[in-house]
Structures are given as C-alpha cells and as structure tokens.
C-alpha cells in the first residue's frame, strides 16, 4: 500500500550547509496497518511525510502509494491519500463546516454538504461546526482537520504529530480517533516523538534518527532489540546512538 524504497532528501542551509534530512529510508506499510513513525525533533519524520504527501520532491529513491508512483503521478497519489500536518492549516475566518464542504466540493464528493455534515458528526465536531476556525481550540481544530482529510475517503492517511499541543483528554480522544480511522483497509502512518502514545495507536513502529531508520517492528520487538524494558529508555538508546 505504502512503499518507500531508498528514499533520500537533502537540504542546504547557511549554518549546516548541505545535509541529509532523509538517508536511504525504506518503509512498507500494509493496508489496514497503523505504522508509527517515531523519532526526536529533526529526525526526518515530517520531511518523510511531506514527501509522501507530494509537498516535497525526493532527491533519490522511489515512493509508491496504492501502486501509484508518487513522482510520476502526484495527482493520482493525492486522490488516494490525505495528509494532516502538525499545524491545523485552517483559514481562521471560515467555519469548520465551510472548510470541510470546500474540500468535499473540490474533491468531487457526491452531495458535499451532506458528506461534510456526516463527517463532522462522525468525528464529534457538529457542536462547533459553524464557529469560525480562528475561535476553535486545538483539539476542536484537530477534529475539523481530520474531517477535512477524510472527505474523499482516502486509502492512505498520513498524520504528522496529531497529538501535538493537546491536553491529556484531547490526546486520548485523538488517539482513539486514529485507531478508529485505521480500521478496515486504510493504511495509516502517524508520526510522533512520544513512544507511549505511539504504543497505543500503532501496530508497528519505525524509529528514525538523523534521517535514518534505526529500528523497525512491533513495540515489543523494538524494545527487545535495545535490551530495555522501559519505552523511553529504549527510545533514547536508539536515537542517541
């Protein structure tokens, strides 16, 4: 469903010069699987997701989503995929309902108004659907953003730090939502730098550090490979190498 093979992305800036943000990364995610992409800040998680979301071009390697080459057919890839960035990306003067309807109209959904209402209802956002996005809390925005991402029923869902900025209750709700969204045939990649969170959402994890995949497997497999019994210790052991 999602296949990254030897993915490379280089950036250049004044302080670091040219550096590898993603270094020969290979990941396979199956339909119906929730894959947790873990790593400290700057590990290359967001860059990887942005390449998958067709927002950045890879320098080397191949990426296919639902069998479609991401570089050759970015529009076709976007028809199968939804990306939810860490920033909400909601126009503050439109209401949640207007934003979701707009995306439904553009994605060519049948009866976009009804589709938007149904999604907002499903995600528990109906109560504030007619409030301008600028007045919503972070948790409320996250639900609206998820509704917006799901209007075209994507088979691949990319979530970049979906619990970022949320309180305990909000984090729990979003994690439950992610588990729900991962049921069925949808492949989900969710990035985070908090191991305990990913443990509750993901079927399998990949740990990134300095642009490389340093460990991959189930949580138990990854912990066993480090020799630690504590999640945070295992994470630190992998990322501080």
């Amino acid at each position: 469903m999602i296949v990254l093979q030897d993915l490379v992305k280089r950036f250049a800036d004044r302080t670091r010069g040219s550096f590898l943000a993603v270094n020969h990364l290979s990941i396979h995610v199956q339909p119906g699987e929730i894959y947790g992409l873990l790593g400290p800040n700057g590990a290359g998680k967001t860059t990887t997701l942005r390449i998958l979301a067709t927002l950045l071009e890879p320098d080397e390697g191949t990426v296919t989503i639902s069998g479609v080459d991401r570089v050759a057919s970015p529009l076709e890839v976007r028809r199968h995929m939804a990306y939810v960035a860490a920033e909400a990306g909601l126009p503050e003067r439109l209401t949640g309902r207007e934003v979701v309807e707009l995306f439904a109209q553009i994605q060519g959904a049948d009866r976009p108004r009804e589709r938007a209402a149904a999604l907002l209802d499903e995600l528990g956002a109906t109560a504030y659907a007619d409030t301008p996005c600028g007045s919503l809390s972070t948790g409320m925005k996250r639900r609206v953003v998820l509704a917006r991402a799901l209007v075209h029923e994507p088979t691949v869902l990319l979530l970049d730090e979906p619990t970022d900025g949320l309180d305990v209750q909000g984090r729990r709700e979003v994690m439950e939502l992610v588990r729900r969204l991962g049921k069925g045939e949808r492949a989900v990649i969710v990035s985070s730098h908090i191991m305990s969170e990913v443990q509750q959402m993901a079927d399998r994890i990949g740990v990134m550090a300095r642009g490389e995949l340093v460990a991959e497997g189930t949580i138990e497999q990854v912990m066993r490979s480090t020799g630690h019994t504590n999640l945070d210790d295992a994470f630190l052991a992998l990322t501080n190498r």
Binding site: R50, A53, T54, L55, L56, L75, E76, R78, R79, M81, A82, Y83, A85, A86, E87, A88, G89, L90, P91, E92, R93, L94, E98, L102, F103, Q105, I106, Q107, G108, P132, V145, R148, H152
Partner: protein, 312 residues
Amino acid sequence: MSVLRAWWWLSVALLKRSARDGMVVRSLATPPIIVFGAFGLTLLLSATRAVHPAVALSPELAADTEFVAQIEGVEWSWFVSKELERAVRESDATFATDGHTLWSAGTDEGELKLEGFLRARQAEPTWTLVMPPPDRVSRTRGLEQALPPGIALLYALYATVFGVGMLTRDREDGTLDAEHTLAIPTWVHGAARWTAGAIGVLAWVVLSLFVFSTLFTLRAPLAAVLHESAAVLTGLAVGLAAASPARATFSSALAVALTAASGLFILGAAVPALGPWVPLLSLGQQSGGVTAFLGALLLSVGAVALTGRASA
C-alpha cells in the same frame, strides 16, 4: 472540469475570507469613501454658491446704476472685469456680461433672470448671446488627470499587498499545504488567489471610477478602466510572484513586491516614452489601454505559474 470546479470554489472561499476580514474591507473602502466625501462637500459648496451668484460686469455696464440696482435687488454680488469670459472660466464669477453677451456657469434659472435684466435695459426686444458653460476641464484638468492614476496606484499597491498576504499567510499557517494535497494541479491555488484578489480589488476600483465620474469629467472611461485594471492586475501579479518562493516570508516578499510595483510606476512617470502600453508604467498616459491590459494578463499568467512551481 474538476480543475475549473476547484478554481471556482477556492476563489469563492478566498473572497469569503477577505469579505470577513475587517482590515481588508476597511482598506478597500477608504478611497471611495474619501471620494464620496469630497463629492458631498462639493455639492454643499455648490449649493451655497448657487444661492448668491457673482456677476462680472464690463466697466460700461457697471456704470449703469439702474442695472446694478436690479442685480443687487436679487442679492447677487457683482464686480467689474475687463476679461469677462475668463472670470467665468476661472470660476471668479458665475455669470459675466457686457450687455450683449452672457457668459454663464450657473443655472438656467439664473441665466433667464439675468437675460431678463439685460432685455429690460435695452427697452426693446433683443437677443442676448448666451455662451455655454466654460469647459470645466480647463479648470480641473490637473486634478482630473492626476486623480484616477493616483487612485489606481493606491489600489495597485493594495493588490500587491494582498497578493503577498494571501500566499504567505496561508503558507505560514499551513492552509496552503492542506490545499496542495488536493488532487488538482498546483497552479490552481495561485490562480484562485489571483482571481479572488482581482475581483475583490477591481470591484472597488470600478466603484471609485464611477464615483469619480459623477464628480469630474472622466475622459475616455474605457481606457481609464483598462489602464487601472491593468495596474491592479499587475500589482497583484507582482505580489504573488514575490511571495511564490517557498522560503519567502510576508515581510521579505512585501519589501520586494512594493519596491517592484512602485518602481515600475515611478519609471513610467519619469520616462513616459517607456511605457504607454505597459501595465503600471502606463498609468496616467494617453493610450487605448487594451495592450496594457493584455500585458497585465500575461504577467498574471507568469505569476500564477510561479506560484504553482514554488509554493509548496
């Protein structure tokens, strides 16, 4: 079809967002409000002046005490002038007469009244040659020539700011990223911003020109609309193009865009031969405006292509 549908819905959403932004609406509404205010003030002044017209009289006529008494009897003021037509043309007098010819910039009612005094003075049926109102253009030509380009420049600079703002703001808060994951070509996002900006600003430009034309003589209105629209579209294109590099921030792009837009205008003003047909350079110059408008559309296509290439 899906591209056109996306273009349409994105443009509508952007217009809706702008209409709900108090700062945007206030900035766009200010110029017509100022022009309307000036119009109202002018009407007030005109009404005040119409009550007591001033009459310029030739020295011979001013010596006729009976005639002068008639003028004073209707509470009109009068003064002696040797250049009667000029007195009316320069608005020193509403009417001027030497007894045979009546120069008028006043109402029909005033003309008839003064004509009656003149006929009574002749004591026999006679024709008075009534000269039509002097061409107001001569008095207000400077203002009439300077104001429309001035208003257009203001709106072109607004359009530049909007072009920069629409792209950088949406990039900074992640809205543009969200849009770029839609299954539509990336140029559509720039095109929608161009469309929304063009509709939003041009509506106010046309309104301002309409208000202006009710107050002054707008020579070649179609050319004025074309030149001013070309300036606004070019301003918008410059703004979008300056903001299109992925690393451009609002302030860095704005500095580049405003320098480019105002620089073009200044270049056109300093070297008029350079640009009767080039948008923005052409403001205030005499030409049909079609070529400038087409040039603006061409620049807009270039700017939209740039946003599609580099916005994500």
